[in-house]
Symmetry: C3
Subunit: 427 residues, 3 copies
């Protein structure tokens, strides 16, 4: 709360300036440099089901091309680029022993654990063995997701990089299809936590069908921003923010002032027409309180929407302009039968259809709608923020202070690290 107060104070000035000079140093400078995401973090790379026993799966994340392998029950992740002449292993993946990958072009064969060149089939006894290689990545699996660690240091436990609720024993997951968003990961992530964005959901099919209008934004009452937002540190360090939507201002209609003496216009959310403000507030308060969190490196967590479940939306950078969204619906299940139902038809009907297909997909259009401005029109300098962006800029500042490292283009071509990581840990 104290930290939140400080962040509020430090960032409010920035936001409230009506005419910020575009080149002035911002308190979230480091965030601006993170086009490719954060380094030294665990990120989801694939659903468990995308990588069968004996199979491979290629994925691009944070600008790096990675080949995932599952062999004899163990997981491996290596750079998908032969050290010899750059051919991608994934074009014809050859796992010819229990722990190697062989390049289909010139037979260079690499250790899947540490990436070292093990041997070359057409040059027995090569002097290069152990003297060159490809990158290897720590990899683990939990709750039906495969996580890869992108970094050079010894990885922390997975717990450090996922929301606390995610690894609880009694929570069961239902998965939506991974989704590719044509926007930088920061634009996608900010949208997920953005208190001012809810206006768009007045046109979401879920809202239209339920007949319950969305507030125009879960915007904190002036002066109460710090109370609204919880700054979260757990045993593994600072993790992110969480916000309860319960105490924000609820707005279902607004006045557009007339000009030059012409009358004002009142605009009311479509589903709110004909209903009193108090009636809507009462109905809203009768629903379970929705909490929204944002966690390093790039996970959004929404609790209690549309009912007793948690939605995780992991937004993993593919490259500077594209993001993969892993959406997962979790519910606490008491029995094996409940768990099986949730993974199947119940999860589909109660979570995937209402929360994802009829609601959250609409955020993708919003995320993508900012991309041109930020990608080609100098948006990070030209953006003009407003008070509800305070929570976004708090996150930017938090990020700039606490991110372990930033993924930069030079990292993509740097020589591989020789770290020998623990890997293959499976839950």
């Amino acid at each position: 709360m104290e930290v939140a107060n400080r962040l509020v104070a430090e960032t409010r000035d920035q936001v409230d300036q009506a005419e910020a000079p575009p080149r002035r140093a911002r308190p979230w400078q480091r965030y601006l440099e993170a086009d490719l995401g954060l380094r030294e973090y665990w990120y989801p790379a694939a659903h468990s089901g995308e990588l069968a026993e004996g199979g491979t799966h290629k994925v691009k994340m944070l600008g790096e091309e990675v080949l995932l392998v599952r062999k004899n029950g163990k997981l491996y992740a290596v750079e998908d680029r032969c050290a010899h002449r750059g051919t991608r292993f994934s074009e014809r993946p050859l796992v010819l022993s229990e722990d190697t990958i062989t390049c289909w072009y010139h037979t260079w064969t690499f250790d899947l654990e540490d990436g070292d060149l093990r041997c070359i089939l057409n040059e027995p006894g090569t002097a290069l063995a152990g003297r060159t290689g490809v990158r290897a990545y720590p990899i683990t699996e939990a709750k039906g997701l495969i996580f890869v660690y992108v970094g050079d240091a010894e990885p922390p436990p997975l717990e450090a990089d996922v929301p606390a609720s995610f690894l609880a024993d009694d929570i069961v997951m239902h998965y939506a299809e991974p989704n590719v968003i044509r926007a930088n990961w920061r634009l996608a992530l900010e949208n997920s936590f953005d208190p001012g964005h809810h206006f768009i959901h007045n046109w979401s099919q879920y809202v239209i069908e339920s007949g319950f209008p969305m507030t125009f934004g879960y915007v904190a009452k002036p002066g109460e921003e710090a109370g609204e937002v919880k700054y979260v540190v757990d045993t593994t360090g600072p993790k992110g923010f969480s916000r309860c939507t319960r105490t924000t201002e609820l707005i279902f209609s607004a006045v557009i002032p007339g000009k030059d003496g012409r009358p004002d216009t009142t605009y009311t959310a479509p589903a709110a027409v004909g209903r009193s403000h108090q009636e809507l507030v009462d109905a809203f308060m009768a629903m379970p309180p929705i909490d929204v969190g944002i966690w390093l490196p790039s996970c959004n967590e929404t609790v209690n929407f549309p009912s007793d479940m948690i939605t995780y939306d992991w937004l993993v950078p593919i490259d500077e302009n594209t993001t993969r969204s892993f959406m997962i619906g979790g519910r606490v299940c008491a029995t094996e039968q409940e768990a099986a139902d949730w993974r199947g038809e119940v999860g589909r009907v109660e979570w995937r259809e209402p929360a994802v297909e009829k609601f959250l997909v609409d955020d993708n259009a919003a995320r993508e709608s900012m991309q041109t401005f930020y990608e080609t029109e100098n948006g990070w300098d030209r953006e003009r923020l407003y008070r509800p962006d305070l929570e976004i800029t708090m996150f930017r500042k938090f990020f700039s202070e606490h991110a372990r490292a930033i993924q930069t283009p030079d990292k993509l071509v740097a020589p591989r690290s020789r770290r020998n990581p623990t890997r293959g840990r499976t839950r």
Copy 2:
């Protein structure tokens, strides 16, 4: 005539040099910088029919993205990019009061007349109101076209920027579909006035069907260039050029000299084979005289082709490499019935089919045929002009002397001007 003489004299030298050093400063330097067109001019943005009452229409012109709005009979044009975070209004245009546009993402609401931020639906009483905004453009409508003024100064009357004939009370317009040309606007415009380009129309369907050959070019007789070209100034200032094709040299066949003692080859336009030169000249002189004009900022006007009508071809820059062509056929009509017929079937049969679909569309291939050279092969430096290009270079020089301003890339990101323009004038 005096000005024309001077321009002829000043530019002929330039053209006749066989080996112009490629980097030498040219008398039309300013023209070379106008990749994006001219600034401080009225341009057609859309057909009136593309913008219905209560509707919106987005258009890119001179590199700027503009949203057109018609509300309660009034016209508005604003920058199609929210001042907050760059979202395009046009993705879900929300005109929630009589004179505002609301961004569908975060509810920022802008005055359609001057672009100022009026209010924000989810932050009542925002301190930003009136302190930020988007660009607003003067807009007007005439003869079935919507015109937008791109510039920062107070706009002149529309009369200043259209051919004199266009606004006459008794002229009635028939419209062809707007056409996107994959060429810079200067290549498109030069083609329309180019005395040397008519050779291509020997393959136009109209010429083949009519059986009347095209001259290889409406090229002035040597020494008579200045007499050929009328320099036009009206009460609003210098406007452009006009040329009568009647007194040019008519060429329906030409000799290709043989080499090393081999015989000459005479090439005759397909439709001219078997007919005497005098016969063709007499037939040509019996037709109404065709006048071709070129007007600032980028309109071509052709009078009396194929019969008693005027064709306007407005070539509006979309961006550096693409141009929108608005083609309009005008005819003086004495009665309402004549006017209705011209707008309908008569205009289609007598103008759109013969003049556009069977003739002028062939110019688009010619316009696009130069684009690679000028876009990627340094064409503006490497071009080698010849005598018939004199009228083009006169225009380039005229343009460099008289264009009010040039649209440059920095204008696309400059802060909006705070001008409060007259707008909504409708004819």
Copy 3:
């Protein structure tokens, strides 16, 4: 042999270094600059059948756009770009006399032999005649291919730039369709001569159907590299290399050493499973010996595969990232009937199907698999070579010493040369 010894010695060091500093000057520096191919060489431009009498054919080679013309039995090649304003002649080629090309836009008419401006149809008596023009290229035809000389010097005889066998009187050609490869020409050419690449053909349909396994690479026995590779100079100068696969090490299975005390894994080529090494070696030795050659500027020649025939694979740069492959199967024919059969069904069944469609096409995937690395990931600096690459680096060094000239981007926009070449020579 002496030269081969020297090249082996000079390049082996380079190859064997396990950690070559990436920026160090390499002995094949000039090769690295040849993105667009070699200059001052004859290259195949088209099949004879692609250019009919009276017709034209446009082709891009070494970054230059060239128009081929066949008129009255003579061949011509000129720059496909009008000297006036850059229009491509090929969009509507007009050969209006026996030896000229006329631009369809403004009637500029060029001499097909030397490229000079001959006349302009709509400006009789132009002063520019003979004072400007387009490039003209020496052109000739042999064995069903049209060759164009790209360079400024007087061209050597065609014999200098093709494999010696190609012009023999009794060899008859069967043609495959030209093929566009999405890879730089050097990656394509190196693949064709690469002793380490044969592993990929264990998955080729021809090998699967024949049941005879491919060795993992035709890799020379250590210390015998120089004996393996013949350096070829003929009367016209240094031409390239040739290698007999007969004396290389044959490898049909290899051991992948186990790690941390785990057992080794032996991998055997699919078709070799259950057959002894000696049995396979004996069978291989009973087949005719295969010779592979690589010739300046960019031709691969394979003798005796799959039986008594020669495969030529000319890899002609289109631009920096694309290569056209002309594949031709030659067989010595004793009678006209044999020749006719080879050109038709016999060539299809005995050469095109087994050698091309069921075998060599697989090399295109390998060639393209390196392109991303070399085009966008600094591959020429990051590649890590190994001993079997010795023959490739010998070629690179040979190339750097003997290539007549390199095609560079500035050559593409340089003024045309005024050389008056011998051309139209037809075999």
